[in-house]
Assembly symmetry: C2
């Protein structure tokens, strides 16, 4: 693709290039542009049709959009913003530095600027910020024929036309109808007779993650957003819902790895910012593990008189941490998939305790054999201490892995914060304490 | 909802109940059924229209489907399978025990049974297994008017009709057209003049995760699946693509928490199976941490003569593990979002090393203060050993967190296997080794 384009530019065959560009999917342009020189990007971009240029622009990453805006004339920029959907324009304005925003807003028509300003004012992460104000609205007493006429009139500019909304004269939503249902109805049928009056709506302030999950549950293509008076103010389309789902999942992954979530891509985040996003949790967890160290120091007499005890500390700490993070991950995911709810607390805990007993005993048996092989069968006491500790910390770790995310949820915190790193350091303290207490007891140290 | 339904059943107002049931979204039935007695479920289910009954059935979880099938008569079951989409039927057959499968296949029409058997034969996790064979096919020389007629004829039974495929007489795909484009064209226009000839297709054997990601990239509603001769054999719709994405993400979460991925839900998985899914990695990781223990035992003389050294082991192990898992999570996610590629190896590594130096130095400084406060400013040597170790293991951990997932990717293994638990145990050995080597050197032990 890249080679063919460069050849066509080289040979000055711009008409051929124009035709060829039309065959490339808009979503494939970002990667293409990344591999080309600025001047060639401009040549290509100026050959695109107005609609395609806007589509391609919306697909680009922010830094590339900024670069492109700085090269375009005011008229060219106006063509782009004219064709863009409102929600994409809002995204753009939120990403750009203020001098670029000024240039963009200058090219936007005054009536559009009003809508954009309203969209910009919704609180972060709400349905209002991801909705678009462009949709097909029908009236109850329209016929199917009239509905199609209306769709044709305004349809071209709509992000999705496949779900139409039936409104009263004061713009309250009373029904929803799929284009599919219009297609299989008679031209003279009335909308009110074929529309579905059971409309599932969200409010402008509904959390965007909740909205995205509704798409997953109901298999919608679009969902209507209403204000407090049930008036339709916008719709959210499935493509935006998928983006939200992906972002939320990425956020969970980062939180669960003790990284402060970051909107920007890996490469566009500076080394300094990467360090900042990671150091906060590292410092917090460092102080937590100082507690473990202090407990360990407390048993100085024990391990000085029986140094072999120390060599089992890594095994016990790691196993405890792993047991805990297995459970916490499953519980956190269970929450986010609505499979586990708060009222299931005892059910989950009881299940985890039984799993822990099985797992703990299995690990204890394997470890006993290993101790006998490595240190001889005389080390019965050692095998007993380590084995018992394994069973106890499996139960402890799996209990904490279930209790802590549940507690976070109960306190309306994000359960993802209670993921492996935190569980691991907390379980560590318990493991070391249980282990040395048992050792002191059994060896009589 | 539940109360109203039970009241209506109680009062024997079945006609009212029937009307009320029609207003409930199919996706809301599973939760409702979970809260009701079997006899009431049957009353409700038998009041649903044929289409709704099939829709509701497809939404139910497998164990509930099985329960319901066992209560339905053959004729009732036939009504359900008649209305179901082929891909949902295949899902059902794959989930049910063999005696139930026999009953289902008996009710399916012979011609449908052939299609189902073909779908069942595609290798696991390929596009073939999630596609449906129901789609709208048009011919190049049809007019828009004729196309609409065809859509109306077959449209009712299609999972999606919004994307139509233009085929040659030998069923090769030559174009694709959105219903939206049909709607804004003149009735007499020819399909060949308005269709998009640049069709993006996948093969029946394409990995389903790859297909799902294409939906995310191109904002499709459906994607055509072709055989080796470019003949259209089915389509994959966006709802199935979203399910695949969700499943793959769940799998990644489980792998990254050292749990063997499991298709079944948390509660439906038995305690024994939960234990089995977790013990494998725990045993493997236990043996890895035995190496750390052995290294530790090697420095017995050092920590017996200077016991305070031991109390820093948890801090160093935890910090190393956390540093490593931060990086490995970001790299693994970068892969799965196509943001990081193998050729970026040195770019990522160099970035991680710089982040590690910043993070390591910050942690070392904080820890030095803490040592001075806790043990007095005389402990300069100790602060030096711990501080140096922190910087070195930050670099080591972040390097491994980048190298190991990259290596896995290079060897065509799943990078998610190189997540926190494995990185942590590997980094542990390094931390302990570096720490005691430095201690021996600086304290002259």
């Amino acid at each position: 693709m890249k080679k063919k384009i460069l050849d066509l530019i080289e040979e000055q065959k711009l008409n051929d290039l124009k035709k060829y560009l039309e065959t490339i999917n808009s979503a494939d342009f970002p990667r293409l542009f990344e591999e080309l020189e600025e001047e060639n990007i401009l040549i290509i971009y100026r050959l695109l049709t107005k609609e395609k240029a806007a589509e391609v622009f919306a697909e680009l990453k922010p830094y590339m959009q900024e670069k492109l805006i700085n090269c375009l004339t005011d008229v060219e920029l106006e063509n782009v913003t004219d064709e863009m959907f409102f929600d994409d324009e809002v995204d753009l304005i939120e990403e750009m530095p203020s001098n670029v925003v000024k240039r963009i807003l200058k090219t936007v028509k005054p009536e559009d600027r009003k809508i954009i300003n309203e969209l910009l004012n919704y609180p972060e992460n709400t349905a209002g910020t991801i909705m678009t104000t462009e949709f097909v609205d029908l009236k109850e007493n329209m016929t199917v024929e009239e509905a199609f006429k209306k769709i044709r009139e305004i349809g071209l500019d709509k992000e999705t036309i496949y779900t139409c909304y039936v409104l009263t004269t004061d713009r309250k939503i009373v029904g929803v109808i799929d284009v599919k249902d219009l297609l299989i109805s008679e031209p003279k049928d009335f909308i009110k007779n074929i529309m579905n009056p059971n409309v599932i709506t969200v409010s402008t302030l509904t959390d965007q993650e909740k909205v995205a999950k509704m798409f997953d549950k109901y298999n919608f293509f679009a969902i209507p957003v209403v204000d407090r008076e049930q008036r339709l103010v916008g719709i959210i389309t499935i493509d935006d819902a998928i983006d939200v789902l992906q972002d939320e999942i990425q956020e969970d992954f980062e939180k669960m790895a003790a990284v402060i979530p970051n909107d920007q891509s890996y490469f566009k985040t500076s080394v300094f910012k990467h360090a900042r996003n990671r150091i906060v949790w590292l410092i917090f967890l460092m102080f937590t593990s100082i507690i473990t160290g202090t407990i360990l120091a407390h048993y100085e007499n024990a391990f000085v008189s029986l140094p072999i005890l120390v060599s089992f500390v890594p095994l016990l700490m790691d196993t405890g941490g792993n047991c805990g993070s297995q459970t916490s991950t499953l519980v956190i995911r269970g929450f986010s998939q609505d499979e586990i709810r708060l009222k299931d607390f005892f059910k989950v805990w009881w299940k985890e305790i039984r799993v822990a007993v099985l797992v703990g005993i299995a690990l204890a048996i394997i470890n006993t054999f290993r101790i006998f092989i490595q240190y001889g069968t005389g080390q019965l006491q050692l095998a007993l201490v380590v084995g018992l500790t394994l069973v106890i910390i499996a139960i402890l770790a799996k209990s904490l892995g279930c209790i802590l995310p549940m507690l976070a949820k109960r306190l309306k915190l994000d359960p993802a914060l209670m993921a492996s790193p935190l569980i691991t350091t907390i379980v560590d303290s318990c493991s070391v304490f249980v282990y040395f207490q048992l050792a002191v007891l059994i060896f009589g140290l």
